[in-house]
Amino acid sequence: MTNNKQQSNGSHIKLSVLKRLGSYLWRHKGLLFLAFLLMLASNLLALVAPALSGNAIDAIELGKGRVDFDKVIFYCVLMIVFYILSALFSYALSILMIHISQKITYTMRKEVFDHLLDLKVGYFDTNQTGNIVSHLSYDIDTVNASLSNDLLQICAGVVTVIGSFIMMLSISPVLILVFAVTLPISIGFTKYKSTKVRPLFKRRSAKLGELNGYAEEMLSGQKTIKAYRREERIIERFDRKNTDAVDAYYEADYQGCMIGPSVNFINNLSMSFISMFGAMLYLFGQITLGNVSSFIMYSRKFAGPINELANIMAELQSACAAAERIFELLDEEPEKLDSVDASELRDVEGQVDIEHVAFGYTHEKRIIHDMNLSVKPGNIIAIVGPTGAGKTTIINLLMRFYDPDSGTICLDENNIIEVTRKSLRAAYTMVLQDTWLFCGSIFDNISYGKEGATLEEVQKAAKAAKIHDYIESLPDGYDTILSDDGVNISKGQKQLITIARAMLADSSMLILDEATSNVDSRTEQQIQDVMYKLMEGRTCFVIAHRLSTIQNADLILVIKNGNIIEQGTHDSLLKTGGFYASLYNAQFDT
């Protein structure tokens, strides 16, 4: 988050981003026009009010016993009417703006989320979940808060400035000359302020970011710090960062805290001059007392928006930075659409032929050079290799999360590029190591892969996965809601639920990421039994960890640094005496 803020402080407003933001607004041009009218009305009414009060005072001015009450009451009633109307308009305006900005927020979120799901899975591998979440919440909120408020504020500001200028001009062109003195001061000050203060504020958030980073780092390592008893030294270092951060805050504040008094000063200065010259003009009969009064009120109105301008610009900048991040996401290339004449895969047998496939996640770095593989229905393929060697790449290609750079992959003699993704993926069932369950009932979680599954079907799958009895033992049975803070179900049970999901989906091919021992040995045995049952009669690609699975496989693919360096059966690989054999033998060689 801090990072985001830093970025937004640094960047400038880009025209292309503004244009694109404008297109979102443009979709609601009717409502926006209405909002503009309301804003105009509400501000004009508020502008007329001081003139009315000035007129009323002119009627009072005559002095004791000579006050023109008809006039006073007339203007007072008008004032009240104007103020009520102005309040109504401004409330209506707020409601309208909230309505519009929420409409845009809704659309933006929807577009971003829908686009997100159409992206390649690689996006999710390279972007942290926290970041994705912050695009959808923080960034979009920032953009819209700014869109609805700032835009209106700018319009209102312009109307107020022009309006009060005209009013002042109509009252006394001479008195306006006062602003010939104060306005340059005001503008000069704003300029000075922004050049001087902005880098300081940037530094302030940078230093705070550093402090946060340090705190985060040290807190995450607190067990180690404790073990080495380094608390005092770490505190010392923290203190240094702390001092830096508060100093940066102070320096920014040192300049920043001038803003309020200065704005006030300039206003007071205008008021002093206006009073002085106003009094003189009044003396020479150039102006009425009521005029002096309304002029002072207008002068305050006139100065307000000009002083606000700097703040609004800063907000707009951060909104643009947020918008830019959102648009970047929207511009990410989605998965290619299925080709127009893509056919549906039906009744898949599970014959897989991979011919001369080459692939790399980036063009510079090819990972698979020339892969050839032929898998018969019902075969078990074990994929082995060290962690991070690229075992999932093959899965990514089979399921068309990525397409190969060259070569073909055929399923039942259909090139998988020529079939619909939906039917291709439906041919596989996938059980991954990190169990994925969502917040919802157990029933919903198991039936996730098969729309409209009945309770009987779900129960049958759960029985096959040996998790039925456990589910039944819960007070709410299959309606039990799985949530972060709800029922405490173990890792093993979660795994069994995902297996039940796979059983229900009942595809002819299986992709399995065999879990390492992260559950107790009994549950692990149970899971293994169920897994083997799931594998029966299906073509299986298994990211294998267990020796028994590896030995039973019809084909072993040995992956190292992203390359398939060997393939064959357990026996043939041992005979060849390559990498696999050296690994296998190493364990007995201690």
């Binding site: 707020s94 159409d118 702390n242 805290c257 000063f265 021992s517 040995s521």
Partner: protein, 574 residues
């Protein structure tokens, strides 16, 4: 909140001076409309131009005084806020560092982190703003009322009459609004959850072609968030126009009643003009005060979260060493130790074992079997509920924590490296000479890769050491553990990132360099990491279900044999 105000004490003098200056500066703002009234009602009728100019200049001077006073006072306030929050943050961090592991578990690291960062920031902000607005707004409000009362007591009553209305408006609107915002927060939480679930389960979702379903699901929560936000927004939007309306009605009433009074000869027109000016001042002060309340409530929520941590009592006190030293030859000894994190289910039950100086212990078991817990008790990050933990024959409860911890060198699972040089990461803020660092790196088999770097030991790591490979990180951590010449070396599931050759070389180097001085405790899920230990403990559900050498356990312990069989393949390949 009280707790936080105590931190202001050392800066009390400066704060008072600042507030005094602020007071003077603010009063100047009040003089201006008063002079204006005087100018129009008393000076103008005299038709004395130099006198008008004189008062004009006085007004400019007053403005200048106000400006200077406010700027100086603001800067002083800002300094007070800086010093105070520096002290608060220091104390908070220090307290967090000295929390016991049990206390940290209870508070959890994310909340500690947000207390240390955003909460202290909020308090800093609040301390600064309170000193500024806290003086200015009430003075403007009260002073404004007093001055107007002096000018025109009757009209002032009109003005005062609008204030309760404004107060009630603000109170009612926020009373209605706050629950709506709480509800909104709930809706946002569920939206975030859907996004999270999707980001994490994208492969499954795509594999099952459920993207359309998920889009609909998101659409549902999206609509809900928008609806709640609209509702809250609509409610809160009432307050501003309503407040303005009340003030403006008061203003109209002032003109009207003022007219009556001028007509009766009790008042003058100039006073009414001045009155209208004060009105702006007072209404701005009102707005500032409402803003202040928002800030104060936000700040006090943060302040309370900070005090909660500061007030946590100290845990794990060192007990008197009345008990005589038992067997010194046993480096580590557990006697009937039972322990539970939450006081319900025992996480460890009746654990007893001993390791001789220079010996090695392997602990194996599934996740959650209590392996790491056992290490935590050994280092006294927690106190056991029953039984005793002895190091060199002394109960850990009676040992000075510094002395106790100086005996250990530890390599934890996913241990932490920080953004600094390699040297600093091994040194870890201890007073170690460069030679010791190099030596440790050699033993840990880290030297080859460090020497291959351009800037060697001065090479900068990124946070969490993400610019190194898993094996390199592991070796640095081992070097760190060995650098201060520990007596007990603890490996928590750590050798897994090392390939078997490095692992063997490491064991050899340790044997050569420490020659029976070093006792090692290795915790692992893989048999290959512990099979060479003098003694291996098999843990299951917090109990010891097998103890002995690799060969003995293959004979006697079914679970061990099972694990052995299932792992022989994986251990090799992975």
């Amino acid at each position: 909140m009280k707790r936080i105000f105590e931190y202001l004490k050392p800066s009390f003098g400066r704060m008072c001076l600042g507030l005094g200056i602020k007071f003077t500066g603010t009063i100047m703002d009040l003089f201006l409309p008063w002079i204006l009234a005087y100018l129009i009602d008393d000076v103008v009728p005299q038709k004395d131009v130099p006198k008008i100019a004189f008062w004009g200049v006085i007004m400019v001077l007053c403005s200048l005084c106000g400006f200077l006073g406010n700027v100086i006072a603001n800067r002083m306030a800002s300094k007070v806020a800086r010093d105070t929050s520096e002290r608060i943050r220091h104390d908070l961090f220090a307290r967090i560092c000295h929390l016991s592991s049990r206390q940290i578990d209870e508070l959890t690291i994310p909340t500690l982190e947000s207390r240390l960062t955003s909460d202290t920031y909020n308090v800093h902000h609040m301390l600064g703003m309170m000193q500024r607005l806290g003086v200015r707004a009430p003075i403007l409000l009260i002073g404004g009322i007093i001055v107007t009362a002096m000018l025109e007591p009757v009209l002032t009553l009109l003005l005062v009459a609008t204030l309760p209305l404004i107060g009630i408006t603000v109170w009612q609107v926020s009373r209605k609004g706050i629950p709506l915002y709480t509800k909104l927060q709930g809706a946002v939480d569920s939206m975030v959850r859907v996004v999270r679930e999707n980001a994490q389960g994208i492969r499954i979702i795509k594999a099952l072609s459920k993207t359309d379903y998920e889009k609909r699901r998101f659409d549902g929560v999206n609509r809900e968030v928008v609806a709640s936000e609209k509702k809250a927004g609509y409610t809160m939007a009432i307050s501003n126009p309503l407040m303005n309306l009340f003030l403006n009605c008061g203003l109209t009433a002032v003109v009207l009643i003022g007219a009556l009074r001028v007509n009766a000869g009790i008042s003058e027109p100039g006073k009414i003009i001045a009155f209208l000016s004060y009105f702006t001042v007072i209404s701005n002060a009102m707005i500032s005060i409402t803003r202040m309340f928002v800030m104060l409530s936000k700040g006090s929520a943060s302040a309370n979260r900070i005090s909660d941590v500061l007030d946590v009592p100290y845990d794990l006190e060192t007990a008197d060493s009345r008990n005589a030293v038992q067997n010194r030859e046993n480096m580590v000894e557990f006697n009937n130790v039972s322990f539970s994190y939450k006081g319900k289910k025992n996480n460890l039950e009746n654990i007893s074992f001993r390791i001789k100086r220079g010996g090695s212990l392997g602990i194996i078991g599934a996740t959650g079997s209590g392996k790491s817990t056992l290490l935590q008790l050994m280092m006294r990050n927690y106190d056991c509920d029953s039984g005793e933990v002895l190091i060199e024959g002394k109960n850990v409860r009676t040992m000075d924590p510094d002395i106790l911890h100086s005996k250990f060198g530890v390599v934890f699972q996913n241990d932490f490296l920080f953004a600094d040089t390699i040297e600093e990461n091994i040194k870890f803020a201890r007073d170690l000479p460069h030679e010791a660092i190099v030596k440790a790196a050699q033993i840990a088999q880290a030297e080859p890769f460090i020497e291959a770097l351009d800037d060697k030991y001065e090479h900068m790591l990124t946070s969490h050491g993400t610019n190194l490979s898993g094996g390199q990180r592991q070796r640095l951590l081992i070097a760190r553990a060995l650098a201060a010449d520990p007596e007990i070396l603890i490996f928590d599931d750590s050798s897994s990132a090392l390939d078997y050759k490095t692992d063997a070389a490491l064991r050899m180097a340790i044997k050569e360099n420490f020659r029976g001085r070093l006792t090692t405790v290795t915790v692992a899920q893989r048999i290959s990491s512990v099979m060479n230990s003098y003694c291996i403990i098999v843990l299951d559900g917090g109990r010891i279900i097998g103890m002995g050498t690799h060969e003995e356990l293959l004979d006697s312990c079914d679970v061990y044999r099972e694990i052995n069989q299932s792992q022989m393949g994986g251990a090799v390949i992975d």
